[in-house]
């Protein structure tokens, strides 16, 4: 069976509906499936719920679907660096559900693994705990969190093969592997598409069973949110403020 589609538009053909829940990989602008999210924007579907750690920055990524008001709700851990998001949220036009980042990652992982709920220490005694079951294990309190499962997931990988196997690159991996497992249909955009057999099976991060459709998008579109460097003469030092 063929998983390979010639472009983002055809890779999303027939699976987009108003009101659907979409998982979208990436952390900040790193590893976001931007070609696919742009194609979702161009399709015109609306009232979408997006599960994504962030909401892009003004003019890039999911922010482009905020411009067209196609997003009804975001489930995220951090939405800074996005004026349009703040505007729409403060005007009551956009719903927002904040999840602690690790809880968000685990809800998605659990969803993909067929685990309906789990208990975590994160958020005990905070606003996040409101309405959630608290249970004590070995003398410590834990919150029950439900898993997440999307109608579709869109992910970005560095390399994929015709069987749908994926390899991510550096910190562009982030939420992509869990999201690939946690939706009815996962569509992957890859920078490099190779025939099955070209990737060492020991190096595959996401096995092809999780990926229904795959499209090659090249490497042209990549963004850096904060470009930080050190001069060649300086001593090695991590994170000197600029």
């Amino acid at each position: 069976m063929n998983k390979v589609y010639p472009d983002a538009k055809s890779a999303l053909e027939g699976i987009l509906k108003d009101g659907m829940m979409i998982m979208s990989g990436g952390f900040g602008l790193c590893g976001i499936p931007e070609t696919l999210s742009d194609a979702i924007r161009d399709s015109g579907v609306k009232n979408l719920t997006f599960i994504s750690n962030n909401a892009g920055v003004d003019g890039i990524g999911l922010s482009r679907l905020l411009e067209t008001r196609q997003i009804k709700k975001m489930i995220s851990s951090y939405v800074g660096e996005n004026k349009l998001f703040a505007q729409q949220y403060l005007a009551g036009e956009l719903e927002l559900e904040f999840n602690p980042q690790g809880t968000l990652a685990e809800r998605i992982r659990a969803g993909g693994a067929g685990i309906p709920a789990f208990f975590t220490k994160t958020g005990v005694g905070t606003l996040i705990a409101e309405g959630k079951e608290v249970r004590e294990f070995d003398g410590e309190k834990y919150l029950m969190e439900r898993s997440l499962f999307g109608d579709i997931a869109i992910v970005h990988a560095w390399m994929g093969d015709t069987a749908g196997n994926l390899v991510y690159r550096k910190t562009a991996r982030n939420f992509n592997p869990m999201m690939a497992t946690a939706a009815k249909i996962t569509v992957a955009e890859v920078e490099h598409l190779v025939p099955a057999g070209q990737i060492d099976p020991d190096h595959i991060h996401t096995p092809g069973i999780f990926v229904k459709r795959i499209v090659q998008v090249g490497t042209a579109k990549k963004h850096i949110e904060f470009r930080t460097t050190r001069p060649r003469t300086a001593q090695a030092a991590t994170g000197v403020e600029v």
């Binding site: 952390f27 900040g28 602008l29 790193c30 590893g31 750690n53 851990s77 951090y78 939405v79 800074g80 660096e81 949220y89 403060l90 904040f98 602690p100 980042q101 690790g102 809880t103 968000l104 990652a105 685990e106 998605i108 992982r109 975590t120 220490k121 994160t122 958020g123 005990v124 005694g125 905070t126 606003l127 996040i128 991510y168 690159r169 550096k170 910190t171 562009a172 991996r173 982030n174 939420f175 992509n176 592997p177 869990m178 991060h205 990549k222 963004h223 850096i224 949110e225 904060f226 470009r227 930080t228 460097t229 050190r230 001069p231 060649r232 030092a237 991590t238 994170g239 000197v240 403020e241």
Partner: protein, 216 residues
């Protein structure tokens, strides 16, 4: 004379131990990596999916696929590994990270921490902060001692909490405090910044604390 941001970071860096896996927050905590004591090797974890975080890259070597949790470009080290967000927070929640150093808006004398939300203002989100304070073995807060509108070290936080009874130590520009977050010993003043008096600390602190100065 209170401590500068660099002096606060240098003081927090004294909490590092050889072999520690450490997560540093954004702001002053990031500066801590510039003051790692000689002879000590620490591994920096970045919760977006990297262990063994290196320095900022040389100009021209920035890679959009290689960033830290503050979305800044960073570089690799020989010890570096990459992993998913789920694996990253398994490290955090599972108690595998030795130390988390982060900023705060308010800390209470029982170790409660508030650092993510001011009601009525646009909320950016908690990111990984709630997971870090709940899961990391030891939590050190580095922050200015006072805000414009008053003390930040309080009897009880009035901002929404990031975590309950999670803070072990607070380094401010005026002093260093320890907090017995699980026990009954409460908060203790253990060091004064250079040239700062006990009276000055008392005047700027709402929280109740014992005085247990090491070199007094």
């Amino acid at each position: 004379m209170a401590w500068t941001r660099e002096q606060m970071a240098a003081r927090a860096a004294k909490e590092l131990r050889d072999g520690y896996y450490v997560n540093l927050g954004i702001g002053i905590p990031t500066l801590v990596s510039n003051f790692i004591p000689e002879g000590i090797e620490v591994n920096l974890q970045s919760e977006n999916g990297m262990l063994g975080m290196g320095p900022f890259p040389f100009e021209g070597e920035e890679d959009p696929d290689l960033i830290n949790a503050g979305k800044q470009t960073v570089s690799e080290l020989p010890s570096t590994s990459y992993f998913s967000s789920a694996d990253s927070f398994a490290m955090v929640r599972g108690g595998h990270i030795d130390l988390s150093i982060l900023g705060a808006m308010q800390v209470a004398q029982n170790g409660d921490l508030a650092n993510w939300m001011i009601p009525g203002k646009m909320v950016k989100g908690m990111g990984g902060a709630m997971d870090l304070v709940a899961g990391v073995k030891r939590v050190v807060v580095v922050m200015e001692h006072s805000a414009k509108d008053g003390p930040k070290l309080l009897k009880k936080c009035n901002l929404p909490l990031t975590g309950e009874r999670v803070v072990d130590m607070v380094v401010t520009d005026l002093a260093v405090f320890t907090i017995d977050k699980h026990g009954k010993d409460g908060m203790a003043l253990i060091e004064l910044a250079d040239g700062v008096t006990l009276e000055e600390v008392k005047a700027n602190t709402e929280a109740e604390f014992r005085v247990a100065l090491k070199n007094a």
